[in-house]
Symmetry: D2
Subunit: 167 residues, 4 copies
Amino acid sequence: MSSLGFGDSRRGLFSRRHPENRPMAFEPRDPNYAQRVRDNFARQTVMTLIGAELTEVGPGTCTVRLPFRPDLCQQNGYVHAGITTTLADTACGYAAFSLMPADSGVVSVEFKINLLAPAIGEAFEARARVDRPGRTLTVVRAEVLAFQGERITEVALMQATMIRLAV
Amino acid sequence: MSSLGFGDSRRGLFSRRHPENRPMAFEPRDPNYAQRVRDNFARQTVMTLIGAELTEVGPGTCTVRLPFRPDLCQQNGYVHAGITTTLADTACGYAAFSLMPADSGVVSVEFKINLLAPAIGEAFEARARVDRPGRTLTVVRAEVLAFQGERITEVALMQATMIRLAV
Amino acid sequence: MSSLGFGDSRRGLFSRRHPENRPMAFEPRDPNYAQRVRDNFARQTVMTLIGAELTEVGPGTCTVRLPFRPDLCQQNGYVHAGITTTLADTACGYAAFSLMPADSGVVSVEFKINLLAPAIGEAFEARARVDRPGRTLTVVRAEVLAFQGERITEVALMQATMIRLAV
Amino acid sequence: MSSLGFGDSRRGLFSRRHPENRPMAFEPRDPNYAQRVRDNFARQTVMTLIGAELTEVGPGTCTVRLPFRPDLCQQNGYVHAGITTTLADTACGYAAFSLMPADSGVVSVEFKINLLAPAIGEAFEARARVDRPGRTLTVVRAEVLAFQGERITEVALMQATMIRLAV
């Protein structure tokens, strides 16, 4: 198993699940994980360019929020799928990073995203949750929500693979 | 087949292939396709924000180019995977759009991208080519290249599904 | 929106969500959906070949179960990723099909699967749930679980796009 | 770079490309790679079950062939998408494996496949080619073709990530 890049995390999988098979909280290996994630996020210059902010980080979870701006759009005035993806990828990366040891870096190996609805709204949130943490590879899923007044619409769904880099 | 969203394009598939099964040029249905693609691209405000330009469009192909800028980066100073994806998604969308009838819109259904190498370079190009055009759904692949002096590195590989919207 | 293939399902999305944004039950359009799914499954000859059975179908959900057999394996004696995928694809297809009108067919447009752990066990289940039903396209996610004694391991995670065919 | 799992393969990337950016032949690290692939394939019991055979292996390429059988089908009598995927995954795995050192194992990390046309034909071939070999991770693409008399139809397109296991 460890050769697969998922370390010994499999051993405790069932015990970390409640009966409906929903993941319970993961244990972070680095108690300072939240600050480490925030510091790392602050170095992503593109987040400043597009106006995104990190609004939540937990062990294995991360939320990135983006207010609408007219300069982030595709041809119909919706937020561009690439920007939606940028949010989701970033949230997935930091959800994975939160569970890594302190001496880690993280980059995306690959991801797949389904665009479910036009990204129309006053603000958007990508909410990521680790599905399977590993010593090398971590699998994460995210949804992107659009907020318009009282209404919340799911606009995208991502499934991603992140890799730990030793630093 | 037409119910599959790939229209009658399958009928002529083999005849469009040479013996090594490489796609030959597609026939555009709209002789004005190149101008239609350029006009549509000009409406993508995010392309102006990041500094991307459309540098090539053909029947079933499209290239989008992006000079490096330090405000497009992730934590290590590489261009963010989300920006790489924005380029590739846009190139795929317009490669598909080039083959659609004049009264069409296009949006992404989904895509998957592998990040192959850090996006380091003076400029980047996403080069897309339609693999399978359809009446409703079109499958497109793209590669993203980084240019640094004389050297070209392939940094990402996308496989995408685009959908035609009647307008 | 309807042009996107997701019909008017977006309109009621928020109302179908409870505060934690978990999907509530979908309303089937065909009251006879369960029998329609079972009849369709019975026509999949490959399910008989590999020994899979449909063990649950609900509005927007489906479970397919496979006992281990040594002739379903890859080089290390694990169930082959292609068989794991066959289960997950089938569960996703029928989860989508359950919400379609009576005069529908369904085929896969595309899917992406992460293999999380070796498929080792006495039996396997692919459990699919529709994330976004649409008039034409439906997005579904599935997990594949391995059962070994008391232990349950998540071995794969799929995100898929299914298309309705008019029949 | 080596941290990314792609080893130093990036260094020689440009020199391995001709002007149209088509990959040239890869150098196998194990001169006995073809026999190693064939021996490994022979241990995949599911290949015998479905009747698939390895018909070509080169440095970074692999073809797997499957004659049609009525017990491999989905509800409409086409070969099941899961079987198409099984072929493509296997071809991708061995294309990657062919470039690995002698003391290697290989498993799939993830893959994404687009189903382009119904899998109708007398026989099917999955043809895989490595896009990016790496020390740990290898990215491979495959197409699945259907053969019916004189006609060849592309029925699926895969983009996959394979991982080397030390053995």
